[in-house]
Each structure stands twice: as structure tokens, then as C-alpha cells.
């Protein structure tokens, strides 16, 4: 087992459409906020961990070099980690390993995306090879629609019930986003608005899908010794899990989804969690699509397979439910992809340190943060605790 790792604090940009700043300036907005919030002097950093989506989405290759100045990285090592949608959790895990190994005491971790500058869907096709898959899974909604339909058919969940549960999540999250000052899309929705919104890829409709966001998130990770010296209320990394599966989409079961199940299990085992629904106080689940969030509840053991719709409709995962999920509004309301997973970790840390403001879950002591990357290929989970 490695050394204890603390999260001292974070900073986020106001996420949204941000043509008011150039990309490095946007990254700097999160970093300045992070340094102010944590009281860290950048000259004391041992290194920087940075990541985004693939270069095609950034418009510039090797953005960690482009952003070296705002990353305050002169004279310091930069590690870049890039795992598509799960980049943010991978960044946090990279920093965790670095500090747990004893090789660093103080790190800044930054993830960013400026999605409105390019064509996100088109650039995402470039994560697929042109021999076979590029023609058939070029748009993310198609992948998630297939996965959702396979799941509902496998467990015999009526289409109307899946729709009702997805609608409940959409209404709750877009409403919860009003409590999150950084969230991109905040909207009061009625069931009718969600259920009659235009179809993106059947059965996924407009309000089931995350937005195209610009934004960044920066965090400070520290050793126990350094966290004490800084004297801030810290969150502690209790468990990490990361798991992948075969490249070709049709090779693995995306319902009994091994990488999601395994990532959560690794993190729970490390944190000593036996019953996640009882032992977690809040979860920041990666939810770019409402339908996929339901499946994650099951893969993460929040409930049995086939049960997520019923429990969601009973309010189990609402802000005032037994296990509140995505009280920040989640990825569904804010998705600057390279930052998104790190925002999940930052939100989880804010929750267990009682600093989540209007979307604070009262008394939260243990939280889960999660993100997924590639064509349903990788899942990463981090468990944070107040002690």
C-alpha cells in the first residue's frame, strides 16, 4: 500500500461557451481559482499532471506544452494522461500514484476542453480506425443507444419505464445544476418537455444528452505531511479502480459491463466498502446520457441489475434520496470532456469537506467519483473520504 494522499482543493472555470478567452487563458481561470482556494504557491509544486481529449479535438497537438506557462510548469515535470472521456479520473489516479509512491509531495492536476472551437462529433470519429468501426459508431449517441437498448431488453424492462426513469434523471439533474455555480446548462423541465424533445438517436432525446462545453478544472493533490503543512480541510483518497476491455465494440458485454463493474470493485475493495449504497453518502457518476447513468447504478452495485429504473422513480438517487447521485447536475449539464472526470473528483472532494455550497449533501463523509472513456472501453473510479 502506498502513502496517504490528500486532495487539498480545486478550482473550476465558469463552464459554457467561452469565446471570451483563448484556450490557455481558460485553463488559467481554473488554475488561478485553484491556487487562491488552496493557498498554494505554484513555485512549491513538485510537478503538474495535465490531460485533455485527443489532439484532433484540441486543434493543437501536445497541449501540455502549449499550456506550459499557465500550468506554471517551467523547471518542473509534466505528466500527460489521456484516456478520452475518462481522462479526468485518469489524471486524478496519475497524481494519486505519484504521491502514494512517495516521489512527490505537492502536485497540480489540470484537465480542460474547449469543445465549441471544433466539431466534437467529427473529431470523436478519429478515435476509431478506418478499417471497420468508423462507419458504424461514428456518433457517441449511437453507441449509448445500442447499449441502453441491449440492457433494457436483457432485463425485460418496459420501454416506457426506462423512458420515465431517464426523464426523472434529466429533470432532477437540470434542476440540481441551479445549485452549482459552475454548471453550463440549468433548466426547469417538465416531463412533457423531456419526453417530446427531438430524437437524437432513438430512444435518446435532446434532454437525455450532455451539452458541448468549454471549461477546465484544476486540483491540488498532496502528501499527508504537505496537507498538514497547508492546514486546509482535505479530502483523502480511499480507493482507486481502473479497468478496460477489448477494443472492438462487439467483443465484450456492455450490459454486464466488466470494466465498470471491475473498476468499482477495485476501488471498493481498497476503501473497504462492502455495501456501496449504505456506505457512500454521495456519488458523482459520469452521466453524458441519462440512460447510461441508470446502467452505472447497477454496475456499481448501488442496486441489483434490472432495478435502477424502479429505484430512480422512487427517488433513491435524487438529491434528498438514500444515495444522491450527481447533485452538481453532473456531466449531463456540463461536459468539457477533458475536464469532466476531474470535475467529478473535485465535486466529490467538495462534498466530503463540506464545501459544495448550495448543492452540498448534508454530512457527506464518503463519496464516489467516476468517468468512462473510449467507445465504452474504459472505466475509472475514485473513492474519497473525509478522513
Amino acid at each position: 500500500m502506498g502513502k496517504k494522499v490528500a486532495i487539498v482543493g480545486s478550482g473550476q472555470t465558469m463552464h459554457g461557451r467561452r469565446f471570451d478567452l483563448a484556450y490557455p487563458e481558460l485553463v488559467n481561470e481554473a488554475i488561478e481559482s485553484c491556487l487562491i482556494n488552496t493557498g498554494v504557491d505554484a513555485k512549491d509544486l513538485d510537478g503538474v499532471v495535465f490531460g485533455t481529449m485527443p489532439s484532433m479535438m484540441e486543434g493543437v497537438a501536445l497541449t501540455h506544452f502549449y499550456f506550459a506557462d499557465v500550468l506554471r510548469a517551467k523547471g518542473k515535470p509534466i505528466l500527460k494522461t489521456e484516456t478520452c472521456g475518462s481522462t479526468g479520473v485518469s489524471l486524478a489516479i496519475t497524481a494519486y500514484y505519484w504521491i502514494a509512491s512517495g516521489m512527490a509531495d505537492l502536485l497540480m492536476v489540470v484537465g480542460s476542453e474547449k469543445m465549441n472551437e471544433g466539431d466534437a462529433q467529427a473529431t470523436m470519429t478519429t478515435i476509431l480506425e478506418p478499417f471497420y468501426q468508423m462507419y458504424f459508431i461514428a456518433g457517441a449517441p449511437g453507441v449509448f443507444s445500442m447499449q441502453s437498448q441491449e440492457w433494457s431488453v436483457r432485463f425485460g424492462i418496459p420501454e416506457e419505464k426506462v423512458r420515465d426513469a431517464a426523464t426523472r434523471l434529466s429533470i432532477d439533474h437540470h434542476n440540481d445544476a441551479f445549485g452549482n455555480p459552475y454548471a453550463h446548462i440549468k433548466q426547469r423541465l417538465t416531463p412533457e418537455q423531456v419526453n417530446t424533445a427531438r430524437i437524437i438517436t432513438y430512444p435518446v432525446r435532446l434532454w437525455d444528452v450532455c451539452p458541448t462545453s468549454d471549461g477546465a478544472c484544476a486540483m491540488i493533490f498532496a502528501s499527508e505531511k504537505m496537507a498538514k503543512k497547508l492546514g486546509k480541510k482535505a479530502a483523502w483518497v480511499k480507493g482507486v479502480g481502473y479497468s478496460g476491455e477489448e477494443y472492438w465494440f462487439g467483443d465484450s458485454d456492455k450490459v454486464m459491463w466488466q470494466s465498470a463493474i471491475q473498476a468499482a470493485k477495485q476501488a471498493y475493495d481498497m476503501a473497504g466498502i462492502k455495501n456501496p449504497r449504505k456506505e457512500l453518502d454521495v456519488a458523482e457518476v459520469y452521466n453524458p446520457f441519462t440512460f447510461q447513468e441508470l446502467l452505472y447504478y447497477e454496475c456499481f452495485g448501488f442496486c441489483d441489475f434490472g432495478q435502477a429504473c424502479d429505484l430512480t422513480l422512487k427517488g433513491m438517487f435524487s438529491k434528498d434520496g438514500e444515495l444522491p447521485c450527481d447533485p452538481s447536475g453532473g456531466t449531463l449539464c456540463t461536459n468539457p470532456i477533458g475536464a469532466t472526470g476531474l470535475i467529478r473528483v473535485a465535486e466529490a472532494a467538495m462534498q466530503v469537506t463540506g464545501q459544495a455550497g448550495d448543492h452540498q449533501i448534508p454530512g457527506a463523509k464518503q463519496a464516489l467519483a467516476h468517468a468512462m472513456g473510449g467507445v465504452d472501453q474504459y472505466n475509472g473510479v475514485m473513492i474519497l473520504g473525509a478522513k
Binding site: F19, D20, G59, D119, Q121, A122, T125, E129, P130, F131, Y132, Q133, M134, Y135, F136, I137, A138, G139, P141, G142, V143, S145, M146, Q147, Q149, E150, V153, I199, I200, T201, Y202, E246, Y247, W248, F249, G250, D251
Partner: protein, 145 residues
């Protein structure tokens, strides 16, 4: 916003010649002849399609070639009327995971023909384009049987 900031538009065009290697090359030669080939893993016995040079589960090299069935069942599907970058063809796009008979994985391709009654579990068969170029889209789509 009170002020409009400048933007700078640039198109990056980078031609790239992707080498298909021996396994996809042979698969495409099969398509030219109206055949779908897989490779069989000597350890787990799965026939994987399209053909691979390695079994992703057993991590052994694959050299046994098998012509696979052009029929199978729909495992899942998704449909959109939207146009998007890289979409093959025009109009409604229906993509599916298809388990071809006696294979060990799902094959991704398009659905076409009369889809009014199609659902998960429906049987489908391959429909080919007349002109075959040695390309994944030589199979026009899979249609309900």
C-alpha cells in the same frame, strides 16, 4: 457579452495512408468475393469477425480462417435521421450489433430494407452491393429475413 472577440478559422487537412496489414487485406479480399471471413481462436474456440490476427481474450495469434454465415440475429440497434460527419450514405441511418451464426462476437453493421417490424432478436441477412471494392461497405446492409 459586451465585446466580440476575434476567432481564427483554420482547416487542418492531413492525408494519411493507413496500412491494412495481412489480416484486414485478406478479409477485404473475401468481401470482394461476397464472403465474410473470421479467424478462429485455438484456445477458446471463438470465431471472431471481422478476422483478427490475435484473440483479445486469450492473447494468442490466430491463423485458422473460417468463412462465416451471412445471417444472424440483432443483439442491439440504434437509429437516427440526423446527418453527422462520417455518416455512410444519406437518410435514415440504422446501426446494429449482429451476432452472425456460430461466431463468438457481435458484428457491427447497418440495417436496411423494411425495418417496420425489426427488433432485438430479429433474424437478418447480408445484402451486398453489386460492385464490390474490397471495403466494409461492400455489404450494403443487413435486412430482416
Amino acid at each position: 457579452m459586451s465585446k466580440e472577440f476575434s476567432t481564427f478559422k483554420k482547416v487542418i487537412r492531413l492525408p494519411h495512408k493507413y496500412g491494412a496489414g495481412p489480416t484486414f487485406t485478406r478479409f477485404y479480399e473475401g468481401l470482394k468475393q461476397g464472403k465474410i471471413y473470421g479467424t478462429k481462436c485455438p484456445e477458446c474456440g471463438d470465431v471472431l469477425v471481422p478476422s483478427r490476427s490475435m484473440c483479445p481474450k486469450c492473447h494468442v495469434n490466430l491463423s485458422e480462417w473460417v468463412e462465416v454465415s451471412q445471417e444472424g440475429v440483432i443483439v442491439s440497434w440504434a437509429q437516427t435521421d440526423k446527418d453527422f460527419f462520417g455518416k455512410p450514405g444519406q437518410g435514415t441511418y440504422t446501426v446494429a450489433l449482429i451476432r452472425l451464426d456460430a461466431t463468438g462476437c457481435d458484428f457491427l453493421h447497418l440495417l436496411g430494407g423494411n425495418l417496420s417490424k425489426v427488433k432485438t432478436g430479429s433474424r437478418v441477412k447480408a445484402v451486398w452491393n453489386e460492385e464490390k471494392k474490397g471495403h466494409m461497405l461492400d455489404i450494403k446492409y443487413f435486412e430482416p429475413k
